[in-house]
Amino acid sequence: MDNKKIRELEKKAKIIREGILDCIGVDKKGHLGGSMSSADLVAALYFYKMKINPKNPADPERDRFIFSKGHSVLAQYAALAELGYFPKSELKRTKELGSILQGHPEIRTPGIEANTGSLGQGLSIGVGMALTARLDHRKYRVYVIVGDGELCEGQIWEAITCANFYRLDNLVVIVDHNRFQASGAIQERYNLGNIKAKFEIYGWKTWEIDGHNMAEIVSALDQTDRVKDSPCAIIAHTIKGKGVSFAENNYSFHNNSLTQEQYEQARRDIASIQV
């Protein structure tokens, strides 16, 4: 892929980060950290990799994306608004009573494929969709972003063994490996060890990339297309809060509110991202 296209995707990631700030606003709690860390991954999926049609959201041939770490859905809302699934003005109504944008993903929102938010369930839902594709002889692919903290959930490992058993080569998992969970650094709170090795031992084809390097993200996603007979996992090293100076690697912004001052600083930080 040429540099120009990479830069276009980086611009989309910047738009997503701006949209996340729209969702969070001032003095309202919001999951800033994990939304920002996954923004580049979400941009690559929606604006490069996935075959989707915002004008026909129910197209049976569309690729599916499930945000299993549902609290980071703000990044998805921003992408869906940019794609025209709903007006951008909705972003500022996130989590308000009656809003189409709930605190965690629900299929009532145009473009959202599954209800997630209780961690550990989204990958299994993706397995179900990938199994349907096989049963129906459809070519669509299923992409699931999971959190690194989420990997503690036992159900994730049920799904990992299941995807391997059924040799679901139409299923791609991206681990948003931002190294922090809600209460602190994963290394200190509940060390998971070598995530890549764990996927491999369960029979998955794996990649390890910089989750903020668009060229690396795109390249890894393209390589998953060519894999046969095994599911694919991309371990994306990311920075929690990426793009917002005071929130980077700061777990207290996992789910926190911004003061007016912080909000303006965050705006300036995102605006200064060079693309």
Binding site: A114, N115, A159
Partner: protein, 311 residues
């Protein structure tokens, strides 16, 4: 009276509807020989998905199948199907109102030998508390077939509770069945018994014995416990002096509770036959446990007499 096995009927009908409708998929967690999805596995192996002993994944996979157009039937023992993946059912299936069928097999005390760990006495209570969930307890093998068939036309999740036992056939192929409706099997004027599952036959036996003492009892088969048909409950209590509910389930949160919720603003005496806030245990036969936990015609008769102040 002719008896027929409910799980056999379920397994055969599931295969039959799957042969007619390619949206139907069966998922099982290593119990296909007990839930009887084994017929699906033999005849339609492509649409039988062994999920391993991993019920939580199984339910969420079913959510994914449903979201992409399938009608998945999730199978395990009731105690595992409703208990282990509670949150997966709540968040992933019921909240988005998906067409997933959770089939709780070997329900109640019907897995007699395996003991308390395998006996579901609170599954209806758990499922009933979840918005959007429909709960159906077929009364016999015939109704089991109808539930499976009717479930294909139903929007939203259904919990189907299937006994391991062979039960008397109380309905026939011509008996009307609709999810959401109840069925009066025998008329009476003194007391109305609302019963579900295996307790319907117990109630009919109680009615027979009471008729010899000139007590007239109506027996209503409540196969759809949720949504409970409020108007029919009110219709069937008109003119009687009291109500008895009967279920092979805890008296907390099951059919009795559901009926009481409908009638809480009315003055009509009511008594419940059910398991009294305790776990089951192993026994040689299901019948033995029904006796031990007083899920019998005699227990029903006692309640009826108490309501009528007669010994």
């Amino acid at each position: 009276m002719r008896v027929d096995n409910l799980r056999e009927a379920y397994g055969q009908e599931l295969l039959a509807v799957a042969q007619e409708d390619d949206r139907v998929v069966a998922l099982d967690a290593d119990l296909c020989g007990s839930t009887m999805t084994i017929y699906m596995e033999k005849e339609l192996p492509e649409r039988f998905l062994e999920m391993g002993i991993a019920e939580q994944n199984m339910v969420s996979v079913a959510a994914g199948l449903s979201l992409s157009g399938k009608i998945p039937f999730v199978n395990s023992f009731a105690v595992f199907a409703a208990g282990q993946p509670y949150n997966q059912i709540r968040q992933g299936v019921a909240l988005p109102n998906l067409n997933v069928r959770i089939v709780g097999s070997s329900c109640g005390l019907s897995d007699a030998g395996d003991g308390a760990t395998h006996q579901s006495i609170e599954d209806i209570a758990i499922m009933r508390a979840i918005p959007n969930m429909t709960i159906v307890v077929p009364v016999d093998a015939e109704e089991t077939r109808k539930v499976v068939r009717a479930s294909l036309r139903h929007q939203g999740p259904i919990y189907i509770r299937i006994s391991r036992s062979s039960l008397p056939l109380l309905t026939d192929p011509n008996t009307e069945f609709e999810i959401g409706k109840m069925l009066c099997l025998a008329e009476g004027t003194d007391i109305t018994i609302f019963a579900t599952g295996i307790m319907v036959f117990q109630a009919l036996q109680a009615r027979e014995m009471l008729s010899q003492k000139n007590i007239s009892v109506r027996v209503v088969n409540v196969s759809t416990i949720k949504p409970l048909h409020r108007e029919e409950v009110l219709k069937y209590i008109k003119g009687v002096r009291g109500i008895v509910t009967a279920e092979e389930h805890s008296i907390i949160g099951g059919l009795g509770s559901a009926i009481a919720e409908v009638l809480c603003d009315r003055i009509i005496p009511m008594k419940m036959v059910g398991i009294k806030d305790q776990f089951g245990q192993s026994a040689s036969t299901h019948e033995e446990l029904l006796q031990y936990y007083k899920l019998t015609p005699e227990a029903i008769i006692e309640k009826v007499k108490a309501l009528l102040n007669r010994d």
